[in-house]
């Protein structure tokens, strides 16, 4: 592979003193990122465990809560995230192939998708908030069907606690993700990355896909529990 002198210089600058060569540095950084994601999985895992326990014990309450979710907004958001993952993956590929401009364009689109996701989420949050579906003293749950009053509002409140905690934590990760991608765009525009040194792009990409992955599970678990009857 032909590398220009500038690239070699950039690569030398990018090699930290305690690594023997670029290969060791790259593999180390990628492995470190995966380790971090392992931690993240366990972090969400605690919440998923709580979800599992309560859902298995209070299925009715969870069904009633889940029926308050806007499936179409949720499904749209899933699609938005999947699209953002595609542009992210293509962005990393552009970095690998020494196409910094293409990378920046793709990452900017990724940011737009990310912001779009957060916007839609905000609309949903607003709806739940005004419907008193935020847990706490103001929580007031109605099924909206006088035939079937809420059977177990207490545990529906727990459903909503978990809903807010899980999606809120996820949204926080999205915000951090948007920040990280913006950072990559800025640093990338200054010419920091080469096919030899693009670990930060790769790692931010891994993070972004991981956040997408969490949502892929959150969507069916929170939005699609059951839609057959009113409780």
């Amino acid at each position: 592979m032909a590398t220009s002198e500038v690239e070699i210089q950039v690569a030398e600058r990018a090699l930290q003193h305690h690594f023997a060569d670029m290969e060791q540095q790259k593999e180390t950084s990628t492995f470190g990122m995966w380790m971090f994601l392992l931690t993240e999985i366990m972090f969400f895992g605690g919440l998923f465990c709580a979800y599992l326990v309560y859902r298995s014990s209070y299925y009715h309450a969870f069904v009633e809560g889940s029926q308050k979710m806007n499936i179409w907004l949720g499904a749209t958001n899933t699609a938005v995230l999947i699209c953002s993952s595609l542009t992210m993956a293509l962005g990393v590929r552009a970095a690998q192939m020494a196409k910094p401009k293409l990378m920046i364009v793709l990452l900017l689109i990724t940011i737009l998708f990310g912001l779009g996701f957060l916007g839609i989420k905000a609309v949903e949050y607003h709806e739940h908030w005004t419907n008193h579906e935020f847990p706490g003293p103001n929580f007031h749950f109605q099924t909206g069907d006088p035939e079937h009053p809420a059977s177990d509002p207490q545990h529906t409140e727990i459903y909503f606690s978990l809903y807010w905690a899980m999606t809120g934590l996820h949204a926080l990760h999205m915000v951090i993700g948007v920040g990280l991608v913006s950072w990559i765009v800025i640093v990338g525009a200054m010419g920091a990355f080469t096919p030899e040194y693009y670990n930060p792009v790769e790692n931010v990409g891994l993070y972004w896909h991981f956040v997408d992955l969490v949502w892929i599970y959150l969507f069916p678990l929170l939005y699609l529990i059951s839609h057959k009857h009113g409780g």
């Binding site: 209070y58 299925y59 009715h60 309450a61 809420a150 059977s151 177990d152 207490q154 545990h155 409780g231």
Partner: protein
């Protein structure tokens, strides 16, 4: 309490000897291994001290030895596991026909209610030689019912019942401790378990009460309007409660649960959580309207409905086959 320098609390229940037996064996085995290790270290360290043994011999390890000290401790452990579990299962399963005492724990006191309707605070009176089953709940935080002389302990949780049991063998007064940290006056949440001779106990029990626990429950059952739906025939809008206690109940989502104390409690407080198959979720919640004590009275009443049925089944001529199906 024992004088001088006691190493064990008194043994005042049938369980105490069993627990102590396991304890003695464990102490013996532990002492053996501790002394073995101490002696080996001392012996080897002195024998192979630098001045006596200046040139070490390199030894890589030994598979037979490794296997030996993996498998032998494992075998010993399995013995303790089996024995400990046997004792635990006895502790966890109250025998049939035990007298029942209801306990409510709150910061920082114990309240007891007997089947006869008598009440006690921080004192638990029980007769020698009867099985006693404790059904316990907390009004606030987690507490723990601990009687060292009986070698039993069970956490008392808010929002549900936990249970334990004992069989006192020796009259006397014993410590009752709260063993789960519960706030400011945790160390003051202590009481006494007073074990009495049966005759004495009868005399103590005959003190004036307004009615047994189940009778109080029956009154509440009427007052709260439970009886309008839970009729004792098949016409009610709610399930007939006669004979349900301790039996499996089929729910509308296909699951089966046992109608134990916790199920009855939950059905009163959160009726929508588990709906009996064939009924509609129309029962209002009684959360915040019934105190822990009244809940226990209601539970005792619903239990008594099943005991009457069972008693009837034992009479000659009366067939109990319908409920056995």
């Amino acid at each position: 309490m024992l004088k001088n320098f006691p190493l064990f609390p008194e043994r005042a229940s049938a369980m105490a000897w069993q627990v102590d037996g396991l304890y003695f064996l464990l102490v013996a085995v532990s002492a053996f291994f501790t002394l073995l290790i101490f002696a080996l270290i001392l012996f080897l360290a002195i024998k192979y001290r630098r001045s006596a043994h200046p040139y070490p011999e390199q030894i890589e390890g030994s598979l037979p030895l490794e296997l030996a000290w993996t498998l032998i401790p494992l075998g010993i452990c399995m013995v303790f596991f089996a024995w400990g579990s046997l004792i635990f299962f006895q502790e966890a399963r109250p025998p049939k026909g035990a007298m029942e005492v209801y306990a409510v724990a709150k910061q920082w006191m114990w309240k007891f209610e007997y089947e006869g309707g008598q009440r006690d605070i921080n004192q638990l009176h029980v007769p020698v030689g009867r099985d006693v089953k404790m059904i316990m709940s907390s009004q606030d935080v987690i507490h723990s019912f601990y009687v060292p002389a009986f070698r039993i302990k069970a956490d008392v949780l808010p929002g549900r019942y936990t249970q334990t049991w004992f069989h006192p063998t020796k009259a006397g007064t014993y410590h009752l401790f709260c063993a789960e940290y519960c706030g400011t006056d945790h160390s003051g949440m202590i009481g006494q378990v007073i074990v009495m001779q049966p005759a004495e106990y009868q005399a103590w029990m005959s003190g004036g009460t307004t009615g047994s626990l189940a009778e109080n429950g029956e009154q509440l059952f009427t007052q709260l309007g439970c009886a309008t739906c839970h009729r004792f025939d098949t016409q009610g809008r709610g399930p007939n409660l006669i004979g349900i206690f301790g039996k499996p109940v089929l729910l509308d989502d296909g699951r089966t649960v046992t109608a134990d104390e916790n199920y009855i409690r939950e059905s009163i407080l959160i009726p929508g959580a588990k709906i009996v198959s064939g009924f509609k979720p129309i029962m209002p919640t009684f959360q915040g309207q019934v105190s822990e004590e009244n809940l226990m009275a209601l539970v005792a009443y619903i239990k008594s409905l099943s005991q009457q049925k069972g008693a009837a089944g034992n009479q000659p001529g009366a067939s109990d086959t319908s409920s056995a199906k």
